[in-house]
Symmetry: C2
Subunit: 453 residues, 2 copies
């Protein structure tokens, strides 16, 4: 066995224990009460980077949560530089009562580690920290120059990093960006993600009467804000799942026959979808396959909805206001700002005179697509094949990693999305998990990728 | 001035102070944490009844909240017996931040007293306590026999009293039931309510996938439970505000020309509706007037609706479940149980294969209508005219007082709905109020009614 193989084998338990320690930190970026947890999670990562042998570690304060920047640039100017990106913030945990074990008390069951952030993204970014550690500790050097930039606001819009990247082009300059914040198809079927959907988000408020009213006194003559909201939301899709907002599909790049053929090779369909989700039936645009619907087509989702009396018992009110949190997954070449304007115009057009509607758009993300013939893409494919024993397939993903297009535009470097999660990791949902064998294979794949570059 | 007029004038401040003390008690029956407040509010009332000169006072424990029973039966067997009903429980107070002053710190502004329960129903039931007190303290006797039954579960389904009334027919036997839990049209325009809508309530749950899912991974191929709920709810009315549930209107007694003519005399229309509610436009069945829509037509309201992520920030989930609290106001001769079955059947029929729906119906209330030519109705009209200086008009109300039909059926006595609230009292909503001059005029009207019988 080589020195590095021995090192990896001997250090497996410690590597996992460290990850568990990090997962105990409730670094939820969208909830302001977790401010102190964010700093703690960032400083914990910086400390582990130093222990790994990376001497230059910065925890950079921002207006939001701190950034962790690290570099090791001793491979020589003739060697490429890899910029590894990840995030230490996690999603909120509700509904809390659906977790089998508490979200911040990591629990190991059936080769999986269950915790909020296990796969998204602490477990995945930590793979590269441990890959670099193994190389430095067993061989004393890395085959390439390496930089890390790890943020704490990915689940909250990446505000600080979005400003930092273009303002620090020299500091972050790299030949390739490496991001592990996605999944492969199955434990033995690696896949490379070459397309990501973009995102638009907004909060819709419908206002009817000035205050909540008694349904006995006013029912029948006042448009109930909950009902009006339901009517608006129901009008946003047709019966076949197409989005009805005029102009919504205008800039959608049609899927080529070649791309549809490539996507048809992905061994995932209705059967897998229903098994993973527990839904009674598939839904959506009938003229597209499941893989196309979830990866290559735009969507509009009602992520949250509330209005009127939602407590214990009954209260026969006509609510004054009703609310919905709406988001769209976008595909090339849709523009999030334009989509927000189209949705608002359509809602205003639909709104009857009995109510008023207001839509507050938040920061969006552009969709991403990468050429399949990049040398860095081929290096990633070789690394996966070497460790997993199977050639990767190429997929497009429905998720959005808004920072991807920021890196692409500011640094001019290709972005490789090298995921190690699995499709059933329950990101953003109760009982999020990460498959432990993928953690260890990920470390080996990261090492192989650096060696292949 | 007569002894009673002098007594009423001298005791005005104390009567109001007592009411304020009662309104400070947060007797919210639908929230289990207020259990102790319910008993305190019942015992407080019992103590004031004794002070008023009513010797026979019982605070009767039940499986729910206690009933307060009181009687004074010394008028003689040849005199009629009046059974006064009211309730000491109040509605929840959310949204709390919309109250100008705290709901349980009664505040007097512009001749109104602002507090939860001020009009519904503590202020109104207390009118009759003070009327009896004035008669007993100034004249030593009442012109009729009087019984009181005051419950603490009107806002929570009247469970205990609904069982108590038929089981205690002799104890509650009366010639007329008198209920003040409604409103007149304006401070100088008394009105008599001769029809009440009934009620059906149910909670709808839509279930899509087994757990919340990441919209990036599954969006486009899974039916979002919020969206599915919105689609179902939107399908329950047509564009003109008619309810689309098949069979819903089957047993609705058509409005006669005579009744429509009587209702047309009510000086209330779109202008008043919009002023009171602050809604931008009226809504509902165009072939009926505002008074008919709110009083004589059945309704279906979405009182509460929730699903997915409703907290601070964004969470791009596809929710597993979405919920709605739905209620119907019913008119003669609709049956609440049948209506619940029709709604459930329609929802099941509408539900696509991508979701499942479950509807849990709760206890309903039958609609009520009283003949206009009853002698007791005429006595009420005379009492109003005497105190307010204007003949009352006859109205049908949209609200439901479920116990009305229980009294009617179990006791065989006519029910007189003698309200003293006003249409803008904001029952069940923030800033509930009671018009203080109506409190004092109510006491005089109650005395006049007992004398007229």
């Amino acid at each position: 066995m080589s020195a590095i193989t021995t090192y990896l084998e001997e250090n497996k338990p410690r590597q996992l224990e460290e990850l568990i320690e990090w997962l105990r930190m409730p670094s939820i970026s969208t909830l302001s009460e977790h401010k102190a947890d964010m700093l703690a999670a960032a400083e914990w990562l910086g400390a582990r980077m130093r222990e790994a042998g990376l001497e230059h570690v910065e925890v950079i304060p921002t207006e939001g949560n701190p950034l962790v920047y690290v570099d090791w640039l001793h491979a020589g100017a003739d060697k490429p530089t890899v910029l590894v990106y990840g995030h230490y913030d996690v999603q909120p945990v509700d509904p809390l009562d659906e977790w089998e074990t508490p979200p911040f008390e990591p629990d190991i069951r059936n080769e999986n580690i269950y915790a909020r952030g296990a796969a998204d993204d602490k477990g995945q970014v930590y793979i590269h920290v441990k890959a670099v550690e193994a190389l430095l500790q067993s061989e004393g050097a890395l085959p390439v120059n390496v930089k890390f930039i790890v943020e704490g606001e990915e689940e909250a819009g990446s505000g600080a990093l979005t400003a930092f990247v273009p303002a620090n082009r020299d500091k972050l300059a790299a030949n390739v960006c490496l991001i592990s914040d996605s999944h492969i198809l199955a434990p033995d079927q690696p896949s490379i993600l070459y397309g990501l959907r973009g995102m638009w988000k907004g909060e819709l408020t419908v206002t009817g009467p000035a205050t909540d009213l008694h349904s006995g006194s006013y029912g029948g003559a006042i448009h109930n804000a909950n009902q009006a909201l339901a009517e608006l939301l129901a009008a946003l899709h047709d019966a076949d799942g197409h989005i009805t907002v005029p102009g919504f599909y205008d800039n959608v790049r049609p899927l080529s026959d070649e791309e549809r053929a490539a996507l048809a090779k992905v061994p995932y369909g209705e059967k897998e979808l229903l098994e993973e989700s527990g839904a009674p039936a598939a839904w959506g645009e009938p003229e597209y396959t499941i893989v196309e619907r979830t990866g290559a087509r735009p969507t509009l989702e009602i992520n949250g909805m509330w209005g009127g009396f939602t407590g214990e018992g009954f209260k026969t009110v006509i609510p004054s206001k009703a609310h919905a949190k709406i988001s769209c997954r976008l595909v090339p070449d849709q523009d999030p700002q334009r989509i927000g304007r189209l949705i608002e115009a359509y809602l205003q057009e639909l709104a009857p005179p009995t109510i008023t509607v207001a839509l507050e758009s938040t920061q969006g993300a552009r969709p991403f697509i990468a050429p399949l013939d990049l040398p860095e893409m081929k290096a990633a494919a070789k690394a996966y094949a070497q460790v997993f024993g199977n050639e990767p397939v190429y997929t497009r993903e429905g998720g959005s990693i808004p920072i991807v297009t920021v890196f692409q535009q500011a640094l001019g470097a290709p972005v490789i999305l090298m995921g190690f999660g699995l499709p059933d990791d329950r990101l953003h949902a109760p009982n999020e998990k990460f498959h432990i064998p993928n953690f260890y294979k990920g470390i080996q794949t990261s090492i192989a990728f650096m060696e292949e570059l």
